[in-house]
């Protein structure tokens, strides 16, 4: 370890950090507005209803579908839905356990992508989105399998 001027370094780092937040604010605002509009329009509910026959066919509870979508977009909004499910079904129910495991093995793909790419002005994202979606799908499938195995 070297000797460093810690306070000067700290304040300099904070300056960088603040700059970063300013740089990502447009992406943050854009995304939160789009999510807010989608939620308020009722589109999420319709989407869940549309694909629920498919998900029930493979044994995935339809109550968890909106959360699965929201998880990709916003961690604050998905946490809201998670708490709703905990309140309604209890954290120790099958559904409560499943969504807990699912939340811990998935990420906010759209949020992360837009903020990270926005900060360096990348518009062509190549295989990043399909890769992230496949990875998150793997996390969801693994969650269902392991919860079924432990508590099913």
């Amino acid at each position: 370890m070297k000797k460093v001027p810690i306070y000067d370094s700290f304040t300099e780092g904070v300056k960088d950090g603040i700059q970063t937040v300013f740089n990502i604010f447009p992406a943050l605002l854009g995304l939160l507005v789009a999510v807010g509009a989608l939620r308020a329009s009722g589109a999420l509910g319709i989407l869940s209803n549309l694909i629920s026959p498919l998900t029930t066919a493979i044994g995935f509870p339809s109550e968890a579908v909106p959360l699965t979508f929201m998880r990709l977009v916003s961690s604050a909004a998905s946490r809201g839905l998670l708490l709703d499910l905990f309140a309604e079904y209890g954290p120790d129910s099958y559904l409560g356990r499943l969504v807990s495991v699912m939340m811990s093995s998935t990420e906010t793909v759209f949020y992360t992508m837009s903020i990270y790419f926005m900060s360096v002005k990348i518009t062509k994202t190549r295989s990043t989105l399909p890769g992230a979606l496949i990875t998150n799908l793997a996390g969801i499938i693994a969650s269902v399998l392991v919860v079924n195995w432990l508590w099913g």
């Binding site: 603040i18 120790d92 360096v120 295989s127 992230a132 996390g139």
Partner: protein, 198 residues
């Protein structure tokens, strides 16, 4: 890509809302979300600022070098051609370490710095490089070992054993990370246009 996704989200919201008669709700939601963005950004100013400050100290003191030394084999495997002593490797290692430990807010500053460093060595400035694809896909595969927030939320709602999800969570996270590694090894490879700049 994000242009289409964002456009689709907004368009869907407007179309669905006009059929549902919920246009007023959407208008309110848009205003509320804008306010929420400011609240989130203000919180971020504090927390990201604080972590960036601490990270700067760690960087100057050489602690980041220690991190990246430990993760060198991983970096070499995932990012072939990237200098494992360079600043990009350093920030990627820090970001991974913070993600593994579940320090989400601490991970963001190093992640963004990693992107900036990767952009410096990127040949096509509007196109994601192989390293960027790899970094982001691994990052978004969920690396964190223990999700404290979910355990806390479970406890809050009266779970008898809030931490019982740690083990299944580890398995699911491990699986998604394995899938991410396989994916980047298969698809985040050089195409003709990117061959020169890895």
């Amino acid at each position: 890509m994000l242009n289409y996704i964002w456009g689709a989200m907004i368009l869907t919201a407007i179309v669905v809302a006009s059929f549902n008669g919920r246009t007023a709700d959407v208008a309110i939601a848009v205003i509320d979300s804008s306010k929420e963005a400011v609240t989130v950004a203000l919180t971020m100013l504090g927390v990201v600022g604080m972590w960036s400050g601490l990270m700067k100290i760690a960087e100057r003191a050489g602690a980041l070098d220690k991190f990246s030394n430990g993760l060198k084999p991983v970096i070499k495997f995932l990012f072939p051609g990237l200098s494992s002593d360079g600043p990009a490797a350093k920030y990627i290692s820090t970001n991974m370490a913070a993600n593994i430990l579940g320090l989400g807010w601490a991970a963001t500053p190093s992640g963004l710095r990693a992107m900036q460093e990767l952009q410096k060595i990127n040949k096509n400035k509007d196109t994601a490089s192989n390293h960027m694809c790899t970094f982001l896909i691994i990052n978004m595969s969920s690396l964190q070992l223990i999700t404290i927030t979910i355990i806390a939320d479970r406890a809050l709602h009266g779970s008898l054993n809030p931490q019982e999800i740690i083990f299944p969570g580890l398995i699911a996270t491990g699986f998604s990370t394995i899938v991410a590694v396989v994916f980047v090894k298969l698809f985040c490879r050089s195409r003709k246009s990117n061959k020169v700049s890895p």
